[in-house]
């Protein structure tokens, strides 16, 4: 049983995605319970994998027993075991939270929502665990297709937003596939470990360089790295509450993981980072992305849209951190993948509660909220402080490594961008807090909902506490996991 965990963690949600339909036939309300149970089980699997990786080291799992270059291999190492825990935990929280939100917004589509929800999680977990470059493509598409569907469950502008996302997402995935094809031409292999061993002798080949650029471009489109970010804000803003709680924290972060995996486990840092001009160019792109994201966020009057632009800025943090190409920078990037997922989750959960209570997600909906929903606002305040980077919340610690990496690499523009973004976040969030603290609630406000139910508030508060708890335990993550991730020589 224990040996089958790497397969189980994927198979379980895949099968459950079908079974949830049966639950839906019996009664709509069972879907939620079923999904929560499945996500709990998946989280259990992920934790089981953590203990195995910590005691036995890297796990190689052959699907169907076929040996590596021929069959598909699942690999669990210190990097993706972290991601597996992150994905399953965030999905569990989002699943618990989704109940009332789905009931309010999309009661008719309950069954389809949960089917897609579970499939999406399966796709994300698969993207993380797989050790095969083509299998990765398939799983990317599984998570993308379900993501399009989940977003299109929203109303009005959601359809067009989802459509644009499809176009961009497909372009990204196709570029990735094309890149993998080029690798295959040269090496005849699709297994990541195999590729890693075969490629060094071919590094001078132009085909390999083209493959690398294509893959990178594809992944960047998927993660909404500037300037390929235009699809993201509308897609995440107009998605149903329950969708954005799952999609916003995870999708971009898993794509960042894929980028890191490609650079470290398919290619090597020596290859990826050997041209300093390219390295600097990417860091500059990250800088522009951070600044643009922050400024655009400041200009928004829609609360959720503001958060989506912050995601774009944060993607700049992570990509820039990786391309600083030094130990501290990469540590910061990996840590930020986890931390940003938690912060984004926390903020989108709050946005969902606001929507649930007021029927809208404009910034002005938050007027007087410190009085009306003090607990929600406490969570919001913590998340905001984390985004600003106030210790001891998670946001500080990844920013710490990122800035340290930038200083080590003498990339002062990246330091400046991080400081600028922190200040912008401070401005942005304190403007909202000010409104929530000083202004009286709008009397014209249509209160569509009662106080948010426990199944929404528990995730909101739990995540907010998590921001502190994980922050104070950053050393565990760095010492026990991330330090094994960084290739020797950096």
């Amino acid at each position: 049983m224990n040996d089958q965990l790497p397969a189980l963690i994927i198979v379980l949600p895949l099968v459950s995605a079908l079974l949830v339909n049966i639950a839906g036939r019996v009664g709509r309300s069972y879907c939620w319970l079923f999904t929560v149970l499945v996500m709990t089980a998946v989280t259990g699997c992920a934790l089981g994998l953590v203990s195995r990786v910590m005691t036995q080291g890297i796990i190689h799992y052959r699907l169907g027993g076929w040996p590596a270059p021929v069959g598909i291999e699942y690999v669990v190492d210190h990097l993706n075991v972290l991601m597996l825990v992150l994905i399953s935990a965030v999905s569990l929280v989002a699943a618990i939270y989704s109940g009332p939100a789905v009931q309010r917004e999309i009661p008719e589509q309950t069954t389809s929502f949960y089917t897609l929800f579970i499939l999406l999680v399966a796709g994300l977990l698969g993207m993380t665990i797989t050790g095969d470059a083509f299998n990765l493509y398939v799983l990317v598409e599984i998570s993308a297709l379900t993501g399009y569907g989940l977003i299109a469950l929203g109303q009005g502008r959601a359809f067009l937003a989802s459509f644009n996302y499809i176009i961009m997402g497909t372009v990204g995935a196709c570029f990735y596939l094309l890149g993998v094809g080029h690798l295959y031409i040269k090496t005849g292999s699709l297994n990541m470990k195999d590729l890693y061993q075969l490629l060094p002798s071919l590094y001078s080949s132009e085909t390999i360089a083209v493959a690398f650029i294509l893959i990178l471009a594809g992944v960047w489109a998927k993660m909404a790295f500037f300037p390929l970010h235009t699809w993201l804000p509308n897609a995440y803003t107009y998605a149903p509450t329950a969708t954005s709680a799952l999609v916003a924290p995870l999708m971009t972060k898993v794509s960042v993981y894929v980028m890191i995996r490609i650079i470290f486990s398919v290619f090597s840092p020596e290859f990826a980072f050997h041209i300093s001009a390219v390295r600097h160019l990417v860091v500059w792109m990250a800088v522009v992305g951070i600044v643009t994201g922050s400024v655009m966020a400041l200009l928004q009057t829609d609360f959720k849209k503001m958060l989506t632009y912050l995601i774009i800025a944060e993607v700049g943090y992570m990509v820039g951190g990786v391309w600083l190409a030094n130990r501290a920078g990469i540590t910061g990037a990996v840590l930020h993948v986890i931390n940003d997922a938690l912060m984004t989750l926390s903020l989108f959960l709050v946005a969902g509660v606001v929507t649930y209570r007021t029927g809208g997600h404009q910034v002005r909906n938050l007027q007087g909220f410190y009085r009306i929903m003090p607990w929600t606002m406490a969570a919001f305040t913590l998340a905001a402080l984390s985004m600003i980077g106030v210790p001891p919340t998670v946001g500080f610690f990844s920013k710490w490594y990122l800035m340290l990496g930038a200083i080590h690499g003498a990339q002062w523009h990246f330091v400046a961008a991080l400081v600028f973004s922190s200040l912008m976040n401070a401005l942005l969030f304190f403007r909202i807090m000010e409104m929530a603290f000083f202004d009286a609630p709008d009397p014209a406000q249509a209160w569509v909902g009662p106080e948010a139910p426990v199944s929404m508030m528990a995730p909101v508060l739990g995540t907010a506490v998590g921001l502190l708890a994980v922050g104070l335990n950053s050393r565990v993550i760095v010492d026990r996991f991330i330090q094994f991730v960084i290739p020797a020589g950096l």
Binding site: P391, S422, A426, F430, E434, F438, R475
Partner: protein, 488 residues
């Protein structure tokens, strides 16, 4: 010497943070709620006092709360300088709590639970800064203090409070994120540690330009110290209820700023390094300009609290000047001034609040003849004013005396002139208030016979702090001893 390991410093920090829970739970029973505040205050004070003996014997007490990142622990270490500051803050917290009860209840202020909650948090942060063993811990509590004081500053929740709160955060948070954070990272990347060391952790192998840049990033980054041009938040913060202005904006918050600068100068750069690169002089000039300009501006202020605020800006710069002159005597004077100014200035704020409670008056021009109605308050006002000016028989004389001695020791005749000139200005903006309160013709007096002293909850604390100010002249221990221990 190996530091003593004990959990006491951590408890001293945490006690007021933990008090938040009972304060919140007891929000419907104001008396019990305030009892919790007092209990926490006395426990904290007791914990600090219990560490005083060992510290005076030259010991250090250390406690590592958590190692959050490799090489980045949350660690507390009680040394002489930290003890000095913690002693001042924890003593005055108890006094201010009593005063708060009188002030808030007399004026029937709203949201009193919130007020006491954030007051407690602010005190935790203050003690945390005092005991911080490294720059990271200091930064952590420094930010906590900024955030905890925001709801206190904006307590009235009106437009003016909103404007001031915005200014407050812009200055305080903007500088700490924009300057201190990158500065801290640069220090970490240069030296590999953030631990405060007696001789500093940076050395001569770095260029003068770099060290100078870092110094000014920190000096201006800790904007709570109110060095010009980053001082404007302090007068703005005066919209807060008076006990907040008294404890936080005369003692805790602003002293955290100067304390942080003292820590940086002694523990990160080291006096020798600044001396080698001759960087003290630049800092001294900034401090001197701040002293003179702030004192001149104070002369023109009619709002009593604003006048006090500008006076505070000037007095804080004294402390920084003490460090900047790089002479042991001046540094001693600067450190002692943390305590002396605290007791003097808090008395003055208490008086301003008492006058407001009793009469509703905020401006100096409206206080003609008030001394006859409120003689105790105005008597205490005189004592506080003398302490700030630096005249005997108050403790302020001792710190100023050492600053003057230090400036002579360092051969800084210009700074000596600044000190003396500024004392004159101090007298110029305080004594007229006192004079017109007592000496006026009956026709000029603006107050009727019904006006009485403020309630005892307000009166007792201000008499107490005035008394301590006088007491410190005759018996400047333990502050003086601690300062002498702290000077390298």
């Amino acid at each position: 010497m190996e530091p003593l390991v004990s959990i006491k410093p951590f408890l001293a920090v945490m006690v007021s943070l933990l008090a938040v829970v009972p304060i919140l739970l007891l929000r419907s029973w104001p008396n019990l709620r305030e009892a919790v505040t007092f209990l926490a205050g006395f426990v904290k004070w007791g914990l600090v006092l219990s560490m005083l003996g060992p510290v005076l014997d030259g010991m250090q007490i250390e406690y590592t709360a958590a190692e959050v990142l490799p090489g980045l622990p949350i660690r507390l270490r009680v040394d002489a300088l930290g003890m000095l500051f913690a002693l001042v803050a924890s003593t005055l917290w108890i006094v201010t709590s009593a005063y708060s009860v009188g002030y808030m209840r007399s004026l029937k202020e709203h949201s009193q639970t919130r007020y006491f909650v954030f007051f407690s948090v602010a005190l935790s942060a203050t003690i945390g800064v005092a005991f911080a063993a490294n720059l990271f811990t200091l930064y952590l509590f420094y930010e906590l203090l900024s955030l905890a004081t925001y709801p206190l500053v904006t307590h009235h929740q009106n437009q003016e409070a909103k404007r001031s709160g915005r200014k407050y955060l812009t200055y305080i948070l903007g500088t700490s994120i924009g300057l201190v954070l990158p500065g801290m990272l640069m220090v970490f990347s240069l030296s590999g540690t953030l631990d405060f060391q007696p001789g500093g952790i940076l050395n001569e192998q770095f260029s003068k330009g770099l060290i100078g840049l870092l110094l000014f990033m920190f000096v201006f980054g800790f904007a709570k110290a109110g060095l010009m041009p980053f001082h404007a938040w302090l007068p703005a913060a005066m919209v807060a209820p008076t006990p907040v202005s008294a404890l936080l904006h005369a003692v805790a918050v602003v002293k955290v700023g100067v304390f942080s600068i003292l820590r940086i100068v002694t523990g990160v750069f080291g006096m020798d390094l600044l001396g080698t690169f001759n960087l003290g002089q630049g800092l001294a000039y900034i401090a001197a300009v701040t002293i003179v300009v702030a004192s001149l501006v104070a002369l023109t202020q009619d709002g009593l609290k604003r006048r006090l605020a500008f006076s505070t800006i000037g007095q804080l710069a004294y402390i920084i000047l003490g460090a900047a002159m790089l002479s042991p005597k001046a540094l001693t004077g600067g450190m002692v001034h943390i305590a002396m100014h605290a007791f003097g200035k808090i008395t003055l704020f208490f008086c301003a609040g008492a006058i407001f409670v009793a009469t509703g008056k905020k401006n100096v021009s409206e206080m003609v003849g008030i001394g006859r109605r409120m003689p105790i308050t105005m008597g205490a006002f005189l004592v506080g004013a003398l302490a700030v000016i630096g005249l005997p028989p108050t403790g302020g004389f001792i710190s100023k005396w050492y600053l003057v001695l230090g400036s002579m020791e360092a051969g800084q005749s210009l700074m000596l002139g600044v000190l003396l000139f500024s004392s004159l200005l101090n007298a110029g903006y305080f004594l007229p208030v006192f004079y017109r309160a007592f000496f006026c013709t009956p026709e000029e007096a603006l107050f009727e016979n019904q006006v009485k002293e403020a309630p005892a909850w307000c009166l007792v604390p201000l008499v107490g702090t005035a008394g301590v100010s006088i007491l410190l002249f005759f018996y400047p221990q333990p502050f003086f001893g601690l300062a002498q221990l702290a000077v390298p």
